[in-house]
Symmetry: C2
């Protein structure tokens, strides 16, 4: 190589090292600057929030009409803080224990509204994908059972299915916790519901699947469990359809003017809700029924393992919780 081009390479390397140093400096100054800007916004948001609280508590002594108007104004300001871009600077809601146990203290809040919508949408499509499997998997098992397996489920496919359920519910519970941290108003119960379902899947994994003779009778518990699972699939599909449409309405509105979202968001899908709910109630009744059947099999029948009793109790508990929470949701909605 010629002397000249060697020198050129040397120079280039020197320049690159220089640039790397500069880059490091810019990066570190950007990080510092951003974090101090964020700090000051955080303080402003907190101060404003406590100001609003203070003012709100002083309204009651005003003439009622004026109080209503001012209350409305304050509500609008609160919405702006909590639903607007400032929300990402409010102190993090504490990580729930569940999320902490699985992924530790890492920050999972997205600072951009767009990203938040994307996370929600991914959650919805995850549910869609799984809802179908939810229907297919247990129904295949049940069909094969009476068609090929001579009323006697083999252990392995059922256990595979139960392991899949466990994995699925864990994923749902984690995602919902993350959504909550990102500002979703999801009721805590729907998350607890998935904890219960996780426990149920785990318990059912340890549940011994007995074979012949007298298989149909011994496997009554497993069979009921599969029925419940199919039903969950139906509920999920319906709910997905409704919630996906709700999100789209919301994105459409949110793009135009965020404030309307808070009050009029369900406008387009309210009708659907009144159609969805009776179906949900029937499914919830069926859930309780399956739970009670399980308890009955455990107490009078041949199968009396603790697993059957636990699953029965959990199902009844979930049915009651689902019912009360659906009713409460409807009540809140009809108030507006």
């Amino acid at each position: 190589m010629e002397m000249q081009s060697i020198e050129k390479v040397e120079e280039e390397v020197e320049r690159v090292v220089e640039q790397a140093k500069e880059l490091q400096d810019s990066a570190s100054s950007l990080i510092n600057r951003t974090s101090s800007d964020e700090q000051s916004l955080r303080q402003r948001a907190l101060a404003l929030d406590s100001n609003i609280r203070r003012l709100r508590s002083s309204l009651h002594s005003l003439p009622s009409k004026l109080a209503d108007k001012l209350e409305d104004d304050l509500h609008r300001a609160t919405c702006l803080i909590y639903d607007g871009d400032a929300s990402s600077f409010l102190p993090n809601k504490a990580h729930g224990r569940f999320l902490r146990m699985f992924i530790g203290p890492i920050n999972v809040r997205a600072s951009h509204k767009d990203v938040q919508f994307k996370v929600k949408e991914e959650y919805n499509s995850y549910r869609d994908r799984t809802a179908l499997l939810f229907l297919l998997f247990p129904s295949t098992l049940l069909i094969l059972r009476s068609w090929i397996w001579d009323e006697c489920l083999p252990a392995f496919p059922v256990q595979l299915y139960q392991a899949w359920l466990l994995f699925l519910y864990t994923g749902l519970a984690l995602r919902e916790n993350i959504l909550r941290l990102n500002g979703s108003d999801i009721r805590p119960w729907w998350i607890y519901h998935h904890y219960c379902a996780m426990i149920m899947a785990l318990v059912s994994l340890t549940w011994e699947i007995k074979g012949q003779p007298n298989c149909a009778q011994k496997q009554r518990g497993v069979q009921l469990f599969l029925l419940w699972a199919m039903m969950q699939g139906v509920a999920m599909l319906l709910q997905n359809r409704y919630q996906r449409q709700r999100l789209y309405t919301r994105i459409a509105l949110g793009k135009a003017k965020r404030m309307d979202v808070v009050w009029g968001e369900t406008a387009g899908v309210d009708g659907q809700l009144w159609l969805l709910c009776p179906v949900l109630f029937i499914l919830q009744g069926f859930e309780a029924y399956v739970g009670l059947l399980l308890l009955k099999t455990a107490f009078v029948g041949v199968v009396s393992e603790w697993q059957v009793i636990t699953c029965g109790i959990l199902l009844v508990l979930m049915a009651v919780g689902n019912f009360t929470n659906t009713v409460q949701t409807l009540m809140v909605k009809s108030r507006f």
Copy 2:
């Protein structure tokens, strides 16, 4: 209330609403500004990175002494980009499938080095907490077995333990994936190792725990499994001690001058490694032995469920993988 103070409240509310709007504007402009700054840093980092690559490939035609020096310079520049503050602006390593399946596409990268250290430290203390339980839980089971339970483990506590293992390994695998995204150099195998352990815990949950008569013989598999688990506890405790010290050395150095960290980081703990490794090798040999014993019980003994065979194969696989990866780590380290 007097007219005057009513007016004052009205004014205050108006001001608060105004402030909320201002806050929203500042927040949204900060977010936009930051994201465009980040964008430009990202481009600079990428351009520089590809420049370095290009230069590196042109070095071979230089006289070897000069090439070595320039290679060193380029290496320093690369370290500055990948280990410095700029690293948080390099394009995200793609989420692994595992993380994606559980928590979806949410960003889990911390942009501050401090936070990254904190995450790592939390991971270490999580491991510490569990390593103790890892020893206590199975050894209690084994002691009670010969002391109270008359050589016959009851199913429930063993299953509880297996469920705990499943949960634990899932948590570890998730955290390690997150650490990797945050720039840890953890070898992929250590993560796969935890996937294998997860599968093993899941499989062992479906493993029927038979009772009397002839219990000691039928439960041979479970017993071996518990022995393996205790051994894991010992390995974890030793490893934790070593890795914790390594992190501290690193933080201490990292605070002073980051560049030294990259080359001389293990200086203080290298001695420990040579002490740790023989112990690890013995444990890995024992792991393979337990695996082979399991396979033997499955093929010649009374217990021939598929669960025993699967666990045996997984254990041998893990032992081989652990061994080769430990050796490779040592080889890489001794090269410096």
